[in-house]
């Protein structure tokens, strides 16, 4: 690992200034991904601006019923927060499905969103990868790609976004709050993480030097049913092969709110808007769920070795939708 400068910021404003004054800087949160990538030589920052102790460690209930999660709230604390467990069970479940107890104690909300793909070609600096070294090619497309994308991939990149948390946030219509020298703004999580297109080196819509300061969850009563389900190679402590986050409300026998997002199928949490549209106003039957999910997954373009993901994702989604509808008494 090469040497680097280190500074700790006391406020978002100071962090943005320190970053701007140091070419080649990276923000350091919990470090669970960045430090690993530095050991691998994938990241070689000239400076780290430590934002892990910024005063952004609160989960705050706003007057309109929404919930603001500070960027430095640790994944374990967010999963255990009473408001999250009661009103956004899908988020607590997604967080607890990811990583290990030790990693969740260190990983931050902001860092979780910004974590990099675990594509083995991205993590191995001796291999071609358009995300790590634009123009070098994609080793995975013809190589080992059992874990890779089936939706929204490009000739340049077939990597997936590794976060469980982000899948739940996408289904919940959460927004990412950003701060930079140009000021503050917010972006829906579902749009914040990008598709690879011709620029897989850009994971998200974040601008250079911009900082994630928090996540805003729209108001949800305790009666808004939601759930997360994840398939993986072992029962615990593994990345998803496919996962789904679902928010489903049934009123007077018809679906009147649906948020569905898939994980591990694409370069971003895949918001299933076609499926949601098909369900709105429909009776919550298994046949309706199967039809809606099939509509969404008809866009899938599996690779040589990952076609299994399509029926796997279908089973997960239909199962969660059916269980939530049953719980709602439909």
């Amino acid at each position: 690992m090469k040497t680097f400068d280190y500074v700790r910021a006391a406020s978002p404003e100071e962090a943005a200034e320190l970053f701007a004054a140091r070419p080649g800087a990276r923000y350091l949160g919990g470090g669970t991904n960045l430090v690993d990538l530095m050991k691998l030589g994938v990241e070689q920052p000239d400076a780290l601006v430590d934002v892990s102790r910024l005063p952004l460690d609160e989960v705050e209930e706003l007057p309109d019923g929404s919930l603001r999660v500070g960027a430095t709230v640790r994944n374990s604390d967010l999963a255990a927060h009473p408001a999250v467990r009661e009103r956004y069970p899908v988020l607590s479940q997604a967080l607890l499905a990811g990583a290990s107890g030790q990693l969740r104690n260190a990983a931050t909300t902001g860092g979780n969103l910004l974590q990099r793909t675990r594509c083995p070609y991205f993590q191995d600096i001796s291999k071609p990868c358009n995300k790590r070294a634009p123009g070098s090619g994609c080793g995975a497309r013809e190589g080992v790609h059992r874990d890779h994308a089936v939706l929204g991939h490009s000739p340049h990149c077939i990597a997936t976004h590794p976060s469980d948390m982000a899948v739940a946030l996408a289904a919940l219509d959460a927004r990412v709050e950003l701060y930079g020298t140009e000021g503050a703004r917010s972006v829906p999580v579902a749009d914040f993480v990008r598709l690879p297109g011709e620029h897989p080196e850009r994971d998200t819509e974040i601008a250079p030097g911009e900082l994630v300061t928090g996540v805003l969850l729209p108001a949800a009563g305790a009666g808004l049913p939601s759930a997360y389900r994840k398939a993986r190679d072992r029962a615990s402590y593994a990345f998803a092969l496919a996962s789904v986050a679902v928010v489903l409300r049934v009123t007077d026998g018809v679906v009147d709110q649906a948020g569905i997002a898939f994980g591990a199928l694409a370069h971003r949490p895949w918001r299933a808007r076609r499926a949601e549209q098909a369900l709105l106003g429909a009776a919550p039957t298994q046949a309706a769920f199967e039809h809606a999910v099939d509509l969404e997954l008809s866009a899938a373009e599996p690779l040589r070795d990952n076609a299994y993901k399509v029926p796997l994702a279908r089973s997960l989604a239909v199962d969660v939708l059916t269980r939530l509808a049953r719980a709602a008494g439909a």
Binding site: Y6, V7, Q102
Partner: protein, 179 residues
């Protein structure tokens, strides 16, 4: 702002309180807590297994929370309290009750993962008592302590690998010390 004052600096003075004893060290920014513990402070209990946060052998308690010391830059922990396996036994104890339970239950073979298993289990017991749920927790109201059955213990310790496969006896030992 704190850290290095001149841009381009590669080391910073860092204070860590380890097992109750304060240490002020000039730390190369690249050094992770695990390497400082083992190489500078000669505390060899925390193990370097994978060095990528995947095996849990390096688990220690920082400010009371279990973490992978191989992924934490020491400079970023300035002012923190660190507890390693060497500091688990209380005053007048030869061993912490969990260490004794590991012996009584024969909860290891080669022993390489054991310091990490011990620190992880102690951190985990506090998390459950504080009401932190796990993936397998059901029907426990938010904020209430989570009762730990074998499934809970296994899920909560999944970040600690044991290549000898001593898992069933590790669970036995942890069950012995559940309050």
């Amino acid at each position: 702002m704190s850290g290095s004052n001149d841009p381009g600096s590669t080391c910073s003075e860092t204070t860590l309180t380890v097992n109750g004893k304060p240490h002020t060290l000039l730390v190369d920014h690249r050094r992770v807590l695990l390497d400082v513990l083992r190489e500078d402070l000669e505390l060899w209990g925390a193990r370097k297994g994978c060095d990528h946060g995947q095996c849990g052998a390096c688990t220690v308690l920082v400010d009371g929370r279990r973490v992978n010391s191989c992924l934490l830059l020491a400079v970023a922990l300035d002012g923190s309290e660190v507890r390693t396996v060497e500091g688990l036994a209380g005053d007048g104890e030869d061993l912490h009750p969990l260490q004794q339970a590991f012996l009584d239950r024969d909860a290891f073979q080669c022993g390489y993962c054991t310091p990490g298993q011990l620190c992880s289990a102690l951190g985990m017991l506090d998390e459950a008592a504080a009401g932190h749920p796990s993936r397998v927790t059901t029907d426990v109201p938010a904020g209430r302590p989570v009762p730990l059955d074998r499934d809970e213990i296994r899920e909560r310790l999944s970040g600690n690998l044991c290549r000898c496969g001593a898992y069933p006896r590790i669970v036995d030992a942890v069950e012995d010390v559940i309050p």
